[in-house]
């Protein structure tokens, strides 16, 4: 909802808070509000119209005056309803990962092993994609695949096991099974 932002903005102003507080007490009209708040009718009108557009107040004519009153239901809602979006912004995390990957991979090579855990995990997970699920690799095969990306295949191999991406028994290596979801 883009509208949430507009509703919040329609509230977040000193003058408009003053107006709302008066309207909580009693209905009122432009000229009276202008007088009570020491502002011109034009200014009050500007604020009331803004709030009316967002459904915070409503108005109706009564003899000479146009009486403004609150739409009170709105103010009962909890704050988070005005914040949370129903549209799931897709791929926000992926965007971050792409940024990290493009920073550490240049021309198909890993320029350095990231120091920070979170970035290292992203990079290692990218390399792990070169291995097939279910297939068993010898240590030499593992090393040579990793070597395409970086010279220090030992560190990387060890780290991949440390992060639980890869499993090992004696000389045999394979992708850990429950890691499948992260590599698709």
């Amino acid at each position: 909802m883009k509208e949430n932002l507009e509703i919040l903005k329609a509230i977040s102003d000193e003058t408009r808070l003053d107006i709302l507080n008066i309207l909580f007490r009693e209905d009122s009209y432009v000229e009276k509000l202008a007088c009570e708040l020491s502002l011109t009718p034009a200014t009050i009108c500007y604020h009331l119209k803004k709030m009316e557009l967002m459904g915070l107040v409503k108005c109706s004519r009564s003899q000479f005056y146009i009486i403004y009153s609150l739409n009170r239901e709105i103010f009962e809602k909890p704050l988070y309803e005005f914040i949370r979006k129903n549209t799931n912004v897709p791929g926000n995390d992926e965007k971050y990962e792409k940024e990290v990957l493009s920073h550490f991979f240049k021309y198909g090579k890993l320029t350095q092993i990231p120091t920070q855990q979170k970035k290292r995990e992203i990079v290692l997970r990218e390399i792990a994609k070169q291995f097939e699920h279910g297939k068993i690799y010898s240590e030499n095969e593992v090393n040579s695949i990793i070597h395409q990306y970086h010279e220090d295949h030992c560190t990387i191999r060890r780290e991949m096991i440390g992060f639980g991406m890869m499993s090992r028994e004696k000389e045999n290596y394979w992708l850990t099974e429950n890691e499948k979801d992260n590599n698709s």
Copy 2:
């Protein structure tokens, strides 16, 4: 509470809503947020600090990163709690009345009888202050007192009875009793 305004302002911004939405999902940190929202870390920091100052988010260091998270209690409160002031603005209505009076009275004379009910009532109530409570006046006395303010004492006398400020029986006039409160 002046603070209410600051809290609302700390929420009412597109970027800050985006940040809050991400933090509803999971805790995060400056650089990651900057990347996801395609803004610079400086900008994200600016927004986070603003929200932290208002108690919307909190932060704690964890290894390399400073992790930001929500103060979730705040977002459960209904909207009106962020609007209503506990300080009763005193004398707002009086201010309006003063404005009306100074518009219709010039040099101690009533320049014209207002057309609108609300204003006419204010003006008449002002003139009624010249009469003593409990005292009984003849029609001539009433007329001459009113005449100090305006030539058309008949209309004004009639209107004061119409509004219930003054009572009449035959030739005798007196201030209506339950009007006392309004004239102090």
